[in-house]
Amino acid sequence: MKHLPVYPLISFFIIIAIWAIVAKYSGFSANVLPGPIIVMESFKELILDGTLLKHSVASLYRVTMGFWLGVFLGIPLGIIIGRIKLLKKLLNPVIQFIRPISPLAWIPLAMLWFGIGDKPAIFLIFLSSFFPIVVASFIAVESINPIYFQVAANFNLTRKELVSKIIVPAIVPDLVTALRLTIAISWLVVVAAEMIAVQSGLGYLILDSRNALRMDYVMVGMIVIGIIGLMIDVTMYYISQSESIVAAKVK
């Protein structure tokens, strides 16, 4: 019993209770505002017929592909920008200009360029993660204590060693925080993108369910989105608490 997350369970229980009460006494019909029991039944239904799995996998696939693309391109670029002042002067204004343009605004162009399906969604996720990661990376690089560079020079570290032994480990704590936030944004974006541009995924499930006037399925979709989002965040949190990352946080 000791390892049960007691407090979260209590608060979820309270939320479900409030939901049940609101659903019962709100005056809305069960079609418009289904209560928790109905939704749980529909949840079971959608698990059993494989729909939930299919759409969850589709959404997760897109987020994973787009996010990792953003990470593998964004972090190196961020590090380079952080180290070369001239590059920062050149690229920063452009980055800060494109970054606030909501990925959703890119949907029309994305659909023209990539069609319908996984590709435009992955592109949108990429956009939503790339710019924040580049910025977080160069800010992290700039805040590295200059003493570490002096130590590196003192011990004749090569350029490769400077990156692998100094820069990357130094920025990992800040980056993990940034990645945690960025992946949350990506998860939001994928759902929105799927409502517009795609034929599968949890966002699409919600849209499709609404068109079929099945609000209970809509809520199932929402709950699954919340659960997966929570699991992603918890995973990132545990990564951020690993021993070497915590140790490196002391500046």
């Binding site: 003192n154 004749n156 032994k165 070497s244 946080k249």
Partner: protein
């Protein structure tokens, strides 16, 4: 192996915020702040040199220039006949604080200078030797944040000594240590110097430390810093300031020079 010659060393900064032209200054950028001007010094091989001065007088700046991290406005630093153009593992710098890489364990930090030894057994043996030398046996796999201040300082010394440098530079190495640890580490550094015979240049503002540790003591006054005292101390070790009248008088003199007239 560790003979340092400093000639005409000058360093100034330009404060761009203060645009008023000084008479005789050739650039219109701002006010020139002289940190020090035309410093000439010579240290012999194997000496423990202590550079003493009030905070902000430029002694740390000078040490960084000597070590090659910064460049002087004019003048040269020549070590064993070669002009210093940058840092090198032959002349290792021990920082005031935060010199240890926090994402590496003690072992990995000490390994930093030894990473190019191809023979793994030899490398591990050497790393262990230096960790034992600074009395951190058992703490090999601790991260710096898990160590006390004194242990961190020892780890950094271990890392520095592991590359067997000709010269060790120390910038206020006892910063942040409690009194007892300070005294203990001070004793360990003195023993290290006696045992290894390396040239050591230490910047400090602790007058007693300089008197107890140095073969050569150099005192600076405030910015623009000038040498107001330069003396070789030939007292035998271990030294006791209270019991040796020569040292005791010197202490009074230095305190007076640095503007502290009542000596505790």
């Amino acid at each position: 192996m560790g003979k340092i010659k400093i000639e005409g060393l000058t360093k100034h900064y330009v404060n761009r915020r203060h645009k008023r032209r000084d008479p005789g200054d050739e650039n219109g950028y701002g006010k020139i702040i002289n940190v020090f001007k035309d410093i000439d010094l010579e240290f012999e091989d194997g000496e423990m040199v202590c550079i003493l001065g009030p905070s902000g007088c430029g002694k740390s700046t000078m040490l960084r220039i000597i070590a090659g991290f910064d460049s002087a406005t004019s003048g040269t630093v020549v070590i064993d006949g070669e002009t210093v153009v940058g840092p090198s593992p032959d002349h290792v710098f021990v920082f005031q604080q935060n010199g240890l890489l926090p994402w590496m364990t003690v072992w990995q930090n000490v390994e930093l200078g030894l990473r190019n030894i191809k023979n793994e057994a030899l490398r591990n043996e050497t790393i262990q030797e230096y960790i034992d030398m600074v009395e951190l046996s058992g703490f090999e796999h601790y991260f710096p944040s898990q160590l006390s201040g004194g242990m961190q300082r020892r780890a950094e010394l271990g890392r520095a000594l592991a590359v067997n440098p000709d010269i060790l530079y120390m910038d206020e190495p006892f910063t942040g240590l409690d009194y007892l640890t300070h005294l203990k580490i001070r004793e360990e550094v003195i023993n290290m110097h006696t045992f290894l015979g390396k040239t050591m240049v230490m910047v400090t503002h602790f007058i007693d430390d300089a008197l107890i540790m140095a073969d050569r003591i150099i005192v600076f006054n405030e910015s623009p810093a000038k040498v107001i005292l330069h003396k070789k101390l030939e007292y035998s070790r271990p030294r006791n300031i209270e019991k040796d009248p020569g040292l005791s008088d010197l202490r009074d003199e230095v305190f007076m020079m640095l503007g502290v007239s009542y000596v505790a």
